[in-house]
Amino acid sequence: MGTILLIAVTAMFINNFVVVQFLGICPFLGVSKDTKSALGMGIAVTFVMTITCLITYPIYMYVLTPLNLDYLEVIVFIFVIASLVQMIEAVLKKFSPTLYNAMGIYLPLITTNCAVLGVAELVIDAGTASAFGLTEMGLLNSVAYGFFGGIGFTIAIVIMSGLREKLKTTNYNKHLKGFPIAMLTACFIAMAFYVFSMISI
């Protein structure tokens, strides 16, 4: 139980995917204009990250490593993620058009989302496992890492969208319009998250 808690805190705050590890920045900047779509995007990314860990971890541990084919790792992972997102997009389009409109149009964005492949890579990496003091992550821990990584992503993107909505009614230099002001907002969020890296477990 302790490890799951440790994984949760690390994935959400100490090693937050977006703000500390710089994974998944493209949708983080592109989709955080208003809170509703940001939340939709956060849920979609968490959903995909959890299922990705559920599928890619066993494939790597029980198929690729025994036959020492780990050079196939990149191809297999990205193929699985791309197919997964393609399927989820179709399912969402059919069964919940409202959620699809809010989130689905950002779903293809998730395939090019570094966070999803990032989590698949980090979960099988010896370094991450030893950071939690484990020889290897194990299925449950890796799915937890994917899930809490997604929650960390959602926290960061919702905070960002809140700030950017506030920005709509403020007056700032014309040249900062668009991405620069988003970057500076993210800079302050990163400073806030910097505090968490001081926690030593």
Binding site: Y71, L72, G127, S130, G133
Partner: protein, 176 residues
């Protein structure tokens, strides 16, 4: 015949041919560009001593195992030092750490020259960890216990200490 014309069949054929083409190409390339184990050891030697300082002289069979550590492999180097890959157990909730440790014989006792984390980990974690292990420099069997490797959210020091302690005991036993 309708089956062969249908879009589904076309998708499966294209996907199958692309993935087999790519997979085959990669399989062939990965064999051609194989980096042999000895070369990997040579690289960690270069990382510790600097490029081209010394090479492997002799491989020593390492089946030394204790309850707090295990030797993965050990090499005797041309300049008289030993390069030991050892894994320390009993980390935070029985975690383990694998280190490449270079050990020299100073007036009879094994002392650590440098300890480096084995293999590459994710870039952000890597930068925090390698610097931690420089604290093990010129430590011998008596002083290894009091090295405090305070780590942030990363691994605890016990696994690190155990790895170094196992390596030192192994070399002392070998030397003695």
């Amino acid at each position: 015949m309708k089956l062969f014309k249908s879009n589904a069949f076309k998708c499966v054929v294209v996907m199958l041919s692309v993935i087999l083409l790519c997979g085959g190409l990669l399989a062939v390339l990965s064999d051609l560009l194989k980096v042999s184990d000895t070369e990997r050891i040579q690289r960690s030697i270069d990382k510790i001593y600097g490029a081209g300082v010394t090479e492997i002289e002799q491989v020593i069979d390492a089946d030394y195992k204790t309850d707090f550590g295990e030797i993965k492999s050990c090499y005797k180097l041309k300049n008289g030092d030993y390069l030991v890959q050892s894994t320390g157990k009993k980390g935070y909730s029985n975690g383990t750490v694998t280190l490449d440790i270079s050990i020299t014989i100073v007036d009879g006792t094994a002392t650590v020259k440098k300890a480096v984390l084995n293999g590459y980990t994710s870039q952000t974690l890597m930068s925090q960890l390698t610097s931690l292990y420089n604290k093990f420099a010129n430590v011998n069997s008596t002083t290894v216990g009091d090295v405090s490797v305070v780590t942030g959210a990363s691994m605890s020091s016990t696994a690190g200490i155990n790895a170094v302690k196992t390596a030192i005991d192994f070399i002392n036993r070998l030397g003695g």
